[in-house]
Structure formats: structure tokens, C-alpha cells
């Protein structure tokens, strides 16, 4: 198992045992900013080497996926899970969006397995983060005049993760590979160390969700595992169809399977106030994130290998 995953387990166990480790929230903020910028920079450098017009159809297809996933999740939550309309919409929005930490773990996983992937996929993360939020709000309220669209668009376009990711992408794109050389030691060489510490903190946070999971029960836990499995199939098939490499298919499956816990909770808290944030967070952080990090990514890798062997897409 990758050491960064072991750091996550350490955090999880320490949190469950109520051990006295607590990172200042400023450190958590710093580490997450560093991850976002690094992923953005890497993506930007790769983007500079690509013909942007060639990527555009891929981006559009990925946006469509981001819109469809919450639309599929919503009825399941509403009727099988018997959640209120607001709660179903909020959870659906979380699962349509993406998690940067899961993406980062997949990057580390592929590096360890020596599998290359299209690093410009950081762009996919940007475009996957946003549509699900808008779909979620529409599912919760319809096109209502009561929705504060101005406040929502502020959250959607100027949320911390979007600004740092897009900022990193642009800086990487403008500077190109040579421009990145002086930044190499700080942003790229330290990537795994930063990720390890970040995952330690994520483990602590995830362990805090266990109490509410016990309260909300079996459906939420099953949903938190079944939904990423289902989404990963969609992501992997789409990746194969778009002609991505093996690594690219694994990444798109992982992106589809991951659930947001930074951008979406903040936006949904403001835009769907009546939704209970504990429900969506305990599912995405308490179940789906650990599942993806510990088991999921390796599983999506196997699925991608199988798809490539079947010659899907080529």
C-alpha cells in the first residue's frame, strides 16, 4: 500500500481512538492550497503542449458527465433513500462534483505504478467542480426567484478551490516547462510529503464523521460505496471512448467516483440552507473518500486495464 494511504489510515485510527493530534486549521488550509496549486501548475504545463481545440470536445463530454451524475443520484436518494428534496439535491451535488485529494492520491498511485496519464486532466477537475453545484441547486429549488444567483455564482466561480486550480493552470500554461524549473523543488518534489500530511488530517476529519454515520445508518453507507462504483464505470467508459490512455481512463474513473467536500459544501450551505450538511459530508467524507483512497483507485485501475484489453474505444 502506498505510504500516503497509510498516513490516511493513521489519521483515521488516531481520530477513532481520540488521540491528541490536531493540526491547526491554518495548516490544513495551507496544505490544501498547495495541492490545488501544484495540480493546477502541472496541468497548465501539459496544457501548453497540447492543441487546446483538440481537448475541447473532451472537456464538453466531461461537463455532460458532471451534469448527468447528480441527475442520476437524485432520484435514488429521494425515493430509495427517502431523503427530503433539499437533502437529496445536496448529496447529489456532492457526488457530481470532484475531490482534489482523491485526484492527488490517484496521481501518486499512477506514479508508483509507472503509468503515464494526460496531466492536462486538471482542466477536467475544474469543469467537473462547477456544474454539479448548479444542478443541485436547481434540483432543490427549481428555477426559483428566491435563489440568490449572485451569491451562488460567487461561490461557484470564486470558491477557493476553483481560483487556486484555475490560477495554477494559467500560471503553468503561461510559464511553460522552463518557467517551472525554479518552482520544481517546492511544488513538485514536495508533493508526496504534502499529500501525506494532508491525508493525515483528512483521516482525522473522516474519523469525526463516524458518529453521524452511526445515526444515519445503512442506506447512506451503501450509497457512499455504490455511487462511486457506478460513477467510476461511467467515467472509465467515457475515458475509453474519448481515447484516453490507460492512466487517463483510471483518472477519469476516479474523478467521476470522487465526491466533493470543499467547494460543494460551502456553496450548498449558502444556496440550499435547509439541507442538512451532516448527511452529505458524512457520506462523502466518512464513506466515499476512504473507500476511493483505500480500495477504489486500485479497482478502477483493474477496470481500466480490462476495458483497454477489450479494445473499447479504440
Amino acid at each position: 500500500m502506498d505510504p500516503v494511504v497509510l498516513f490516511f489510515l493513521l489519521g483515521l485510527l488516531a481520530g477513532l481512538a481520540k488521540a491528541e493530534i490536531r493540526m491547526p486549521s491554518a495548516i490544513y488550509e495551507f496544505l490544501s492550497a498547495l495541492l490545488l496549486i501544484t495540480i493546477g501548475l502541472k496541468g497548465g504545463v501539459e496544457l501548453a503542449k497540447q492543441d487546446v481545440w483538440q481537448i475541447l470536445p473532451q472537456v464538453l463530454a466531461v461537463i455532460l458527465m458532471g451534469i448527468s451524475l447528480p441527475l442520476i443520484a437524485f432520484p435514488v436518494l429521494r425515493w430509495a433513500g427517502r431523503f427530503t428534496r433539499a437533502d437529496s439535491a445536496s448529496i447529489a451535488a456532492h457526488y457530481g462534483s470532484v475531490s482534489v485529494a482523491t485526484y492527488a492520491v490517484a496521481v501518486a498511485y499512477l506514479a508508483r505504478e509507472n503509468i503515464a496519464f494526460e496531466e492536462y486532466m486538471a482542466v477536467f477537475m475544474v469543469v467537473l467542480e462547477m456544474p454539479a453545484i448548479v444542478v443541485g441547486v436547481l434540483l432543490a429549488k427549481g428555477i426559483s426567484r428566491r435563489t440568490e444567483w449572485r451569491a451562488l455564482s460567487h461561490e461557484v466561480f470564486l470558491g477557493k478551490s476553483i481560483v487556486l486550480l484555475v490560477g495554477g493552470l494559467l500560471i503553468g500554461w503561461i510559464s511553460g516547462p522552463e518557467g517551472m524549473v525554479p518552482l520544481q523543488p517546492f511544488f513538485f518534489d514536495l508533493f508526496k510529503g504534502v499529500l501525506a500530511l494532508f491525508l493525515l488530517e483528512m483521516g482525522l476529519i473522516a474519523s469525526g464523521q463516524v458518529g453521524s454515520l452511526r445515526r444515519y445508518g445503512v442506506f447512506l453507507i451503501s450509497f457512499g460505496i455504490a455511487m462511486p462504483l457506478f460513477s467510476s464505470v461511467i467515467g472509465a467508459v467515457l475515458g475509453a471512448w474519448l481515447g484516453l490512455s490507460l492512466g487517463g481512463i483510471v483518472m477519469l474513473a476516479t474523478l467521476a467516483a470522487s465526491a466533493s467536500y470543499i467547494a460543494v459544501p460551502a456553496a450548498v450551505r449558502i444556496s440550499i440552507p435547509e439541507a442538512n450538511p451532516t448527511l452529505s459530508l458524512s457520506a462523502s467524507l466518512g464513506v466515499t473518500f476512504p473507500f476511493n483512497v483505500i480500495i477504489g483507485i486500485a479497482l478502477y485501475h483493474k477496470m481500466a486495464v480490462w476495458l483497454v484489453q477489450q479494445g473499447v474505444g479504440s
Binding site: I262, P265, P273, T278
Partner: protein, 100 residues
Amino acid sequence: MSGELRKLLVIVTESSLERNLVRDFMEWGVTGYTITDARGKGSRGIRDAGWDVSANIRIEIICNLDVARRVMTQIRQKYYANYAMVSYLTDVEVLRSEKF
């Protein structure tokens, strides 16, 4: 040296509301406020400020009774139902009372 009496309104709530509240305050005639990060436990569980979503803030506003009552009525209507929020009002003695 003796000061004049004013009201101190304290609001403890979710940090995700900060931007909205600050905008509301201006509309409701609040001229100044102080915000600090906070953590604690209440009817909505432990809010330990470990990361953004579970972070709380504590807002202090020194103002006259009218403004304090207006803010309390408004936040109750607008936020109490769906957000973790507690507010209380006390007397305080201030210097340079024209500021408040």
C-alpha cells in the same frame, strides 16, 4: 473616567455565513464589528474548526439598543431555522461613545 452605556451583541454562528452576514449588517445600520474564529459544542454537534465546514465564528457588535434589536430580529427570521446560530445581548460601558 466614566464611559457611556451601549449594547454588546454577540453572535456565534457558522463561518460559512460570514460574507452574507457582513453584507446584511451594513444594510441593518451596523457601523462596525469584530469577528474571531471560535469552536465549541451545541445542539448542532461539536464544531471544532478542524476545517472550513465545521468552523465557527464569534461576531461582536457594539451598538445602540435600536440597532441591536433590529439585527436580532432579522437574523432570527433569516438564519435561525437552518443554521447553527446563537446570539445574546449585554450592557457594556464604552469610551468615545460617538463611535457606536
